[in-house]
Symmetry: C2
Subunit: 284 residues, 2 copies
């Protein structure tokens, strides 16, 4: 059967899949210099923000993505003091990062200020840490920002961007990764959202190749459910400036203090457990 106009649908022609959410109404739409942003009230997922027709963030399930793009990599670094988030304009990743008291500075570099302003309005719960004295909200191009970053000034880079088409395309390339390597201190980590393990495995494999070619010593993958993204199954690719095992800071009191809904010591470890077909593709 087909859906009437009370649904928002994101069809992905390339993967032959589509996901839909039943709507209340569209409450906002605007074209910024970078993209088209729309906000819908959905029947069961709270508010939904879409960019250029792709689902970005919903009230109900954003905790999956935001927790799994931040806590696993933060707790895999022995002492993450200085963190930069590239993209992440909805501020949900920033909020999770700032739950870690060991973080001294967290800089969000979002190209489109309107994403953040609309998030403040429709997803205020994601923006509660924006006033934290450790937070800087910078609006500008992440690629240019990274090129000019002080060498060896960062412990962690979180690339929380849209898909590798349009404004985010350059964030998936060797040149950008080279600047990331330079900006990281020894032992520094990068994590980048890397699409669906089932639908986008060739992209993931290429990203890891580019990361190693740019000078990263080792790459890893983690995966987690993310309902509103294509296939409902998503991944983050981790690149290490220095080879070797990752730290595992999983002290129960510290984990409890994060107040996470998905993330805990068990799901931390589970996120790194790779299916056999993924291991084969990545040559792990």
């Amino acid at each position: 059967m087909s859906l009437d106009n009370h649904w928002f649908t994101e069809p992905v022609e390339q993967t032959g899949t589509a996901f839909s959410l039943k709507l209340g109404e569209r409450v906002h739409a605007e074209a910024t210099p970078y993209q088209k942003i729309e906000i819908y009230r959905t029947e069961t997922f709270g508010y939904l923000m879409t960019i250029d027709g792709c689902t970005m963030v919903s009230t109900r399930d954003n905790f999956l993505y935001h927790e799994m793009m931040s806590h696993p990599v933060l707790n895999s670094h022995p002492n993450p003091r200085d963190v930069v988030i590239v993209g992440g304009g909805d501020c949900g990743t920033l909020r999770e990062v700032l739950k870690h008291p060991e973080v001294k500075t967290a800089t969000q570099v979002e190209i489109d200020e309107r994403v953040t302003r609309l998030s403040e309005q429709y997803f205020p719960e994601l923006c509660v840490a924006n006033g934290d004295p450790r937070a800087t909200l910078f609006f500008g191009d992440g690629i240019a920002w990274m090129k000019e970053a002080t060498p060896e000034s960062l412990d962690l880079i979180i690339i929380d961007s849209t898909d590798p088409v349009g404004p985010a395309e350059g964030l998936f390339g060797r040149k950008f990764y080279l600047d990331c390597v330079q900006a990281l201190r020894p032992g520094g980590l990068l994590i980048q959202q890397s699409e669906s393990p089932l639908l986008h495995l060739p992209l993931i494999t290429e990203m890891h190749k580019f990361m190693r070619e740019a000078g990263f010593a080792q790459t890893r993958l983690l995966h987690f459910p993310q309902v509103i993204y294509p296939s409902g199954w998503w991944s983050g690719s981790i690149a290490q400036k220095t080879a070797g095992p990752l730290a595992e800071r999983l002290d129960p009191a510290m984990i409890d203090a994060l107040g996470a809904q998905f993330y805990n010591a068990d799901t931390h470890r589970a996120a790194f457990a790779l299916p056999t077909f993924v291991k084969k593709a990545l040559g792990i």
Copy 2:
């Protein structure tokens, strides 16, 4: 945007979500005494079987469900000799079960023979073990079958059914679970597909309550990606006739011999790692 008629869409009004696959054409449709079965050729997921408008099995992603509904529970039992599959008419679960040499009998109790006959035609790769001398394909009502099963004759019950509406409704009730407890040997295990951890948590909680009320000593949950089912995130609920820790038969040579695409020792353990919000709901 809306999808044209080149897509199959399963809208779930109750959860306000829909999933769609881009089609080639519908290659078969029939109404059996139990349900309406359709087969489509899709653009990117191979063949798709739907029952009463719900996605059941696709060529591309069925390995996720079939592997995770069989291997984790088989390897959690110290010596699973006699296995019954309730439902499972596409024969994919039967195929995975029979990969285990320790299994001596595997009986598939499917109410609708047409599901199996169509699977033989459109999903022949799932039916390769149907001729195994250890396999019995019985076509009839799983509820009646379990009522008449010899007490303490089974090590493992796998309930691989449709959703808890229509023909499968009785498979989610206390009476059926009571018969399952009787049919299992001491130490026996049951696993039942239990829908989406995000969308159907109240159902999962109720199932576990019913299982314990029926006499199961302990229940557990495992979860895994399943792209074509609502939310792309699915679960299996395990009920133990006898309380205590599960076996963990994860010998590398045995795991390798299964030739699984998703399942391995790492994803076995990861499947049991529960998100905090699920632990809270289940009181674990």
